[in-house]
Each structure stands twice: as structure tokens, then as C-alpha cells.
């Protein structure tokens, strides 16, 4: 980016400029370009969610402000179970996925010749329907369970199975995020550490892990939100035996309970996911700060 005139210290408070020049232009054109996107976000995302919040605080029977929906959620055992399950699903999937993604991404970094294949292995499942991927997991899980000679494996119809399946589904996204930051690591640091006598584990701990950290954080935020909010995994892999907040939400709309209850569950779910959302937005804002 070239700049013709020297910038004043601190923020330059002038009108919009085209990239590469310092001449102010009218607000009209950038505003018009951004308007459709802003309208979508405000009108079809923020406003509807505000309506969900209002609905959550409305008693379905009396149509007045009340906390009954939340009371219902927190007083029924299925509510607590769903909350607990969703938290375990979110945290468990994220931790396991990160633990697998970092070595995989590091392997990609160390073997550039195979990188294209490794990336292909990651991207291909992402382009395939979630229902198909879950179906494939179910087929494999039944097969593995059948041939496993040492007792039962909790791959299906259990919370463990749901977490395992979600780890498989989220691995690509987590690994891509970790790889993106690991790729920017200076390889010579690894060589330098080894020259200075560091063992493999020490190199990993002091050079690789810190380099991977931004990617791990970014990937974890995506993975937590996606796994805690996943409907398919608890519904299909859990087979109805693993209540989770997304299944409660959809159930409330398809007949089992009122929308108000579902809205309340959605508000609680957002309360869980929201801190991470804010963290991710703050992170990306900080990263693009001057």
C-alpha cells in the first residue's frame, strides 16, 4: 500500500479514502456497497435474535413477561442433562480435536511434499453432506463394534459416541486453523533449537506449540460453537438417548413443547457460546489493528 502524504500521528479523522491514496471521497459509494450486507446482518440476524430473546421471556399461556420457560428448563432433569451434555460435547470435542490437529498440522509443515494430499484429506469431507458423514460414521461404528473382540465400544447411542463423531467431523476445520498459523512459523527456529541440543519434545513444547497457539485458539472457538450447537450428532449418533440443547430447540418447534421453551434454550445456548464469540471478534480485531 503506497501512501503519498505522511500520516499524522494517531488516528487520521478524515472521510473515506480509496486504498492507496489520501484524497477523501464521498461516503455514498462505500456506504451503498456495504448497505446490503449490513441490512442482512441487522434485519435477518440481529433483529430475529432479539425476537427470540423476547419470546424466551414470554409465558406462552399468558403472553406476558415471565421466567417460566427458564424455570422449566432448569427444573426438568432433561434440561440439566441437555445442558451438561452440551457442555461436555463442546469442551470434549474441542480438546480432543486440538490434541489431534496439532501433530497433524505439524506433520504437514514438516513434509511439504505430502502437503497437497494432507490438505485434500482435510477438505474433501467438508464438501460432503453432514447427513452422509454421520451415516458413514454409523456404518463404521457398527462394523468396528462387531469385530472388536474386547467388549463393547461406546461409539453409538452414547455421549462418548457423540463426542467421538464430532471430533471426526470437526477435525478438518480445527486442523486448517492450526495449520494456517503453524505455516507462518519460521522453520529455522526448529533447526536452531535442535542445534542447541533440544530434544524433540522440548522443541515441540518451546517452538512449535507457541507458534501454533493462535491457530489453536481460532480453531477452538469455531469447534466449540459448532459442536455445542450441532443438531445432527446428538440426534443421529445419540439416537435419542443423548439429549442436547440443539435437539431440545428443534424439538420445541416440531411439536414437543412450545416455541417459548425452545427460545429459552436457545438463549442459554447463546449465553454459553457468546463469551467465545466475543473473544474471537476481539482477537480478530486485535490482529488487524495497526
Amino acid at each position: 500500500m503506497t501512501s503519498v502524504a505522511p500520516r499524522a500521528a494517531g488516528r487520521v479523522r478524515q472521510g473515506p479514502t480509496r486504498v492507496g491514496s489520501t484524497t477523501s471521497v464521498s461516503w455514498a459509494l462505500p456506504a451503498a456497497l456495504l448497505a446490503p450486507m449490513v441490512l442482512f446482518v441487522l434485519g435477518l440476524f440481529v433483529l430475529p435474535f432479539v425476537m427470540v430473546v423476547t419470546t424466551a421471556f414470554t409465558d406462552a399461556a399468558t403472553d406476558s413477561w415471565s421466567l417460566t420457560n427458564f424455570q422449566e428448563f432448569f427444573s426438568r432433569s432433561v434440561g440439566w442433562t441437555a445442558l451438561r451434555n452440551t457442555l461436555i460435547i463442546g469442551v470434549g470435542t474441542t480438546v480432543v480435536a486440538a490434541a489431534v490437529a496439532v501433530p497433524y498440522a505439524y506433520g504437514m509443515v514438516r513434509h511439504p511434499r505430502w502437503r497437497a494430499i494432507f490438505i485434500a484429506v482435510l477438505f474433501a469431507p467438508l464438501l460432503i453432506n453432514g447427513v452422509v458423514r454421520v451415516f458413514g460414521y454409523q456404518l463404521l461404528a457398527r462394523f468396528v463394534d462387531r469385530v472388536w473382540p474386547w467388549g463393547d465400544l461406546p461409539l453409538l447411542y452414547s455421549l462418548t459416541g457423540v463426542v467421538i463423531s464430532l471430533v471426526v467431523f470437526m477435525l478438518p476445520q480445527m486442523t486448517i486453523a492450526v495449520f494456517a498459523s503453524l505455516d507462518r512459523m519460521d522453520r529455522r527456529l526448529v533447526d536452531a533449537a535442535q542445534t542447541l541440543g533440544a530434544g524433540n519434545w522440548q522443541v515441540f513444547r518451546t517452538v512449535v506449540l507457541p507458534a501454533a497457539r493462535p491457530g489453536i485458539v481460532a480453531g477452538s472457538i469455531i469447534t466449540f460453537g459448532a459442536s455445542a450447537g450441532s443438531y445432527l450428532a446428538p440426534a443421529m449418533v445419540g439416537g435419542g438417548r443423548v439429549p442436547a440443547m440443539p435437539t431440545l430447540i428443534y424439538g420445541s418447534v416440531s411439536g414437543a413443547g412450545s416455541w417459548n421453551f425452545g427460545a429459552a434454550v436457545a438463549v442459554v445456548l447463546m449465553a454459553i457460546v457468546l463469551p467465545l464469540m466475543i473473544l474471537s471478534l476481539v482477537q480478530s480485531a486485535r490482529r488487524s489493528a495497526p
Binding site: 503506497t2 472521510g15 473515506p16 480509496r18 486504498v19 461516503w27 459509494l29 462505500p30 456497497l33 456495504l34 442482512f40 446482518v41 435477518l44 440476524f45 435474535f49 425476537m51 427470540v52 489431534v100 501433530p103 506433520g107 513434509h111 505430502w114 494432507f118 485434500a120 484429506v121 482435510l122 477438505f123 474433501a124 469431507p125 464438501l127 460432503i128 453432506n129 447427513v131 452422509v132 458423514r133 451415516f135 458413514g136 456404518l139 462394523f143 486453523a177 494456517a180 481460532a218 460453537g225 459448532a226 450447537g229 450441532s230 443438531y231 443421529m236 430447540i249 428443534y250 418447534v253 416455541w259 427460545a263 457460546v273 467465545l276 464469540m277 471478534l281 480478530s284 490482529r287 488487524s288
Partner: protein
Amino acid sequence: MSRRIPSVNILVAIVLLAPLAAVIATSLNSGNYAVFPPRGFSLDWFSTALGNTKFLDALRLSFVVAAASTVVSIVVGFLAAYAMTRYEYRGQRLSQITALGPLTVPEIVVGLSVFVFVALRLQQAPSIPALVLGHCVVGIPIGLQVIVATMASQDVALEQAAETLGASSWRVFRTITLPLATPGLIGASLLVFIFSFDNISISLFLMPPGESTLPVVMYQYLDFRPDPSIAAMSTLLVALGLIVFFVLHRIGALKHLTGSGLR
């Protein structure tokens, strides 16, 4: 550094690809049961799947919705991306954060929100336009990210040079900006299309009564009584996904997907 591929990479590759292989294998069952490993060998279930009117209707609906969502998302996303990469303005970071907001929210909440909005504020039953708009809420950020990544990495000097040489703004756009942005636009279009086509969490809420998108139909079918025709249908979708993958690879759009641009 060892020359051997690390075992973790091999294991992960197997774990990621095995479910797809299992689905493809299961579609070759000759009996009535969708089992893995398959018993017998038969391609009949493919013709059964393609003859199933419920599947075909759902396939048509999914295709129409995905096409519409893609067009809207790419247009809106391209306009916004142009503003974000070719202008500097106060509140730029805020506009970027706003644009990406819907991506950080679980889709099930997006689905519920748009459903509540359509049902309570607009007082209408879910319809195809509502479904398209619901998909666009998440589709726009998806497309925007890729387009911004492409356009931000281009040198504005090319456009500036054209302007210096006397080209009008429209001519600069038509002959330089647009051609350079095209690989990113194609990549973004494919990603949004696949997202919309495969989507279930939002579609569950917004399907018009009596109609279903393909993922929802398949999900209900699996719940009800899975026979190999669902595996055959799934295999066709796997093939579709792989084709899209190769196209993305050929046009070089994949490298923009590894978290550059706004993130």
C-alpha cells in the same frame, strides 16, 4: 527430520476418509439391508434411489434454494468485499466484525431466529424465499471471507495504473477488478452453494410445509428405515462433493481458504 510420514497423519487420513468409503461400499449391497461390509454386489440401488420421487423432489428443491442463495450471497458479499478492500473508512473494523458475526453463532440458533422472525413478525408460514434468506445469513459471511481474501491480496497498483492511463471507473472495474476477482468469486460461489445444498440445521426450521430439502429427507429416511438406496444417494452426494473439490483445486481457490483475509 525423518522422511517417513508421521503415523498421526496416516491415522487421521484413514479416520477422515473411512466413513466416506463405508458409505460408498454400502451402496453396493445386493440385499435390502444397508450394512457394512456389504453383502453381495449390485448397482440396482442406484437406480432405485434415482427413481425415488421424494429424493428427486428434494434434490430439485435443494438445488433451487442453493442456486438462489449463492447468487444473493455472492452479489451482496462482492459489493461488501469491494468496499472493504478498496476503501479505508472509519468503522472499517466494525463493519468486518459485523459481517462475520453470523458465522460464530450456532446454525441452530440462526434457524430458530429466522423462523421466529418469519412466523411472528411477518406472520407467515415458512416459504422458499424465507429458506433462501435464512441460508444467506450464513452464506454471505462465508462468501465474503473468500472474496476478501482474494481481493485483499491483489495489488491496487494495477487499478491505479489503469486510472492514470485514463480509463473510466467502469472500465477499470470491467477489465481489471472483475477478471482478477473471478477465481475468488467462483471459489466463493462453490463454497456457498455446497453450504446451502448440504445445510440441515437452518433448513429444518424454514422448509415450506410439505416440501423438504435433500439433507432433511435423507435424515428422515435414515431415521425411519435405512435401505441401501440411501447409501446410493449418499454416494452420489459424495461424488458431487469430490467434483466440487477438484474444481476448487484447479482454479486455485483452495489456498485462500486457510484462514487469510479477515481472520
